[in-house]
Symmetry: D2
Subunit: 295 residues, 4 copies
């Protein structure tokens, strides 16, 4: 997606400014209209704060209309009829376009129960989630009272806006909306980083199929050249990192049993902080390994 | 199965001695007949040595007949027609009665190729193997020349005899035919053994379904009351131990993320020494863990 | 020291019973006299309970006299004049016969301050302590009020009595007065226990000299044949275990740097539970190691 | 020390060039004179190569004179009479100005034996060593034949020249003459880096006193702001890192025993590659820790 610079936004006439930010919040140009007069913004964080203030200070009926402007999650009919490009990409990022039948059914039940209780759609910032964590979030939020849930919906709308803004606007400062998942393989048998180890990152699913979401090979420093997940929020969920250590040691002529005691090593862990840094290293010999949340 | 004591075997008349040991080697009473005169045996190890010597010193055509007296592995027709009770139990112990279609096909191909090359059935001590390790063994042994493979078949017959003898005869000494798989969970967060942790042992399968072969809960010392596998050889193969540590720490009120960084921890390893001791402990905190081959 | 059996004590006439237990509590035959009529005792635990009950239920002035019957700790004049054999051995066990000048001075200051405040000698079960932990205990207990400190002195007298009884009386049951310190060296480079490693246990001292209190070599299972400390309480204090791993790996032809990255490995830890089991293992490769409080 | 830029050296007249490099090799202006005509040098590595080539291609008697121009190490008389500023600083960097009597005696014996055998002084690049590693190097090199030892002396002179050049000349490229020692403390109890931990680096000495050579406190990422040793070669030798973890956990209200099982943790290791990167992290809970050579 092509970006627009903050300085251009600051200098644009009002109509262009509103058009540029039209999709930052779903079907709600009134927000950009309301803050156009506050320009120039010193940075993208200040711009986001203005958007959030506009949303949070809107009258209750305006907030409710804003919430109702959002589509259901994983709703086949609505998806067929067409979502905004932004909503579509966001739902896809959480895998909502690839649901198993069991998952579709679970989402349908959850949406129905939510709408029945609150009379507005469940809203969540999908880029911060996996399918599983959304279904868990549904359950938790269904316990809330309406007032709490209105506040939660507004919060999620602000998170969605922040991520859309992050993608849309180029500025000198950065929004704190990205997380990072990295790894590092140390060969404690030889006292050095382990290069050339194939690594897979699997997103685990409770109802549907688990799937490989990243593949990499460790470099000379035992790390991957790029983060396993980076430049975006880390989706809340359960993961497994898989390391092909048997081949690594075999290639170095290390004496091993047959089959080798350790071959493919799985590290299973959960991510709960989408904006956090998760460093999940592997310290390994042919007969031992350890891992920990590092930094 | 009821056991007979070594002293009774030593005191029995020859016919009873031969009858008692009839099934220690498949369809081959001549072996017991040949060693009856060497009684009394000082121990079960001495008795086994006598059996092995009788087999190994037999004439080549006798050895070949002995090999041919054995059934194919995982052969549906032969299994339907009836195996000896011993063969049946042994094949079942390696899961050969629960093969997937893909596995049956693989065994059929392997048996056919083996018979075509050597003109005698492939023999393996099934209690020392999993389905996967038998298929790997097939591949390896198909590369052998006939002379080597005759020797290997005799070796396996001796191993089968040792295990049958171990089950049949009660003596003061023990045959070294058992292995042991144990675990131990240390809670490094609190500096003490971790009791009450549910542990599953899964046998991993390349072609068919992996299956849980043992379940236990750690006791006050963080160990299981009985070995996860014991009193028998450890089947060569790949395994996964799974520990429910999330529930353990949650029950102790330890502050954790939601979902917890570590919940179910899998330790994946292979066993290559059926008569060995594999100690596979877990040292764990809510944020780290390690394992190693211990003792 | 020769032991007397509980059954003999139960059967003895009263004078012999009192004589046998004369030194279980310093200069206080009235205790044994008071409980002689409760015989027979079902076990040594029951006998100890009777002694403790006699002490704890004595009139305040009797308790005070009992406390005052005890010598000062590490008092040169009293030691020259002669202590009971039991007191002497107990004080020596904590190294009070080998104090540096700085330590003597510290003990003298502490004894004087304690007597000045409470008008009775400081009593501690020396076998459960090192010099350092006694000096720390002095500081803590000097903060107490007299009533608390009387109770603490009686507690320590009961602990001393328990250990003297444990040494004196042979019975079927055991008093829970012993701790155990053990270690285990696992060679994670080769996946097996590490035999032949020289291990030293050093008691660390804040003011005087640290000293080696045990030496051992690991056996085929990577353990020491006997506990590093066993058959007695573990003295509260700070310790260092030292393992000669450089020689071990060099003897096995493992390729290492020169000098080796790891050679003598110190593990420094404290003991706070004299009756506990401290298992302090070492998991080691030429390039890594770890330890933990095990079981 | 003020630096001179490579471009200035390239542009200087010959006399100034020779004067600037006069002390790069002890008392040997002929080297700079010999290479002045090769200017301009494209970088400091090319300049160093020219110096090394001049030394290595010199006639045997010139090389011998060069070797003999060097002072003895740790020679009181020579030090009193005055060394070049460079030699003095180099010898001090290895602690040769702070020798115990036993160390002086050892150096004197070694120097005498070396001179007696080779008729020239022992030369070593002192900045790459500790006192202990120099004494070990003496022993090793005393076994050499004269031809080998002449070559070794020339090698060390080139290493000394490289380090002097590195300090003297500012250029765009860098000589690969620096190593780095770093650490990192991970709190596995809480799953995050451990800030505020006091760290001491001690150089261990076989004959004299061990001494603290660096002190630091871990920052918010559990690292020290600067390497523990950096911007210079790592002296070959034995070291101990000491971490005050007891205070760290106590300050966070973590429940611990009294005294704490772990308080000051020593990690003892050796450095053998002066130009290497040694990363020696500590993974720690109140009840466990581990370390390894990392990257």
């Amino acid at each position: 997606m092509s970006q627009v610079s903050l300085s251009d936004l600051n200098a644009a006439d009002k109509a262009d400014f509103v058009a540029a930010l039209a999709n930052v919040v779903e079907y709600s140009p009134w927000i950009a209209e309301g803050i156009a007069g506050q320009r120039p913004f010193a940075g993208i964080n200040q711009l986001l704060d203005a958007i959030k203030a506009a949303i949070q200070s809107a009258a209750p009926d305006v907030q409710l209309a804003l919430i109702r402007a959002h589509p259901d999650l994983a709703n086949k009919t609505q998806r067929a009829a067409g979502l905004t490009a932004e909503s579509n990409a966001e739902q896809n990022s959480a895998g909502l376009d690839r649901l198993s039948e069991a998952e579709y059914a679970a989402f349908e039940r959850a949406n129905d129960a939510y709408r029945a209780k609150f009379s507005f759609p469940y809203i969540v910032c999908a880029r911060r989630h996996t399918k599983d964590s959304i279904l868990r979030d549904f359950e938790t939020r269904l316990q809330n009272i309406a007032k709490t849930e209105t506040r939660r919906a507004i919060e999620e709308i602000c998170r969605i806006a922040a991520l859309r803004l992050d993608q849309l606007v180029a500025a000198d400062d950065k929004l704190n909306v990205h997380g990072r998942l990295s790894t590092h393989v140390l060969d404690n048998h030889n006292g050095r980083p382990a290069p050339g180890i194939a690594v897979e990152l699997v997103e685990l699913a409770a109802l549907g199929e688990s799937r490989v979401i990243a593949r990499a090979v460790t470099n000379h420093d035992g790390r991957t050249d790029a983060p396993l997940i980076g430049g975006r929020p880390l989706p809340i969920g359960r993961y497994e990192l898989r390391f092909s250590v048997g081949k690594y040691f075999a290639a170095r002529g290390v004496q091993m049993s047959d089959p080798p005691f350790l071959d493919e090593i799985p590290l299973r862990f959960a991510i709960s902080e989408p904006e956090g840094h998760y460093h999940v290293p592997l310290l390994v010999t042919p007969w031992s390994y350890s891992t920990y949340r590092g930094s």
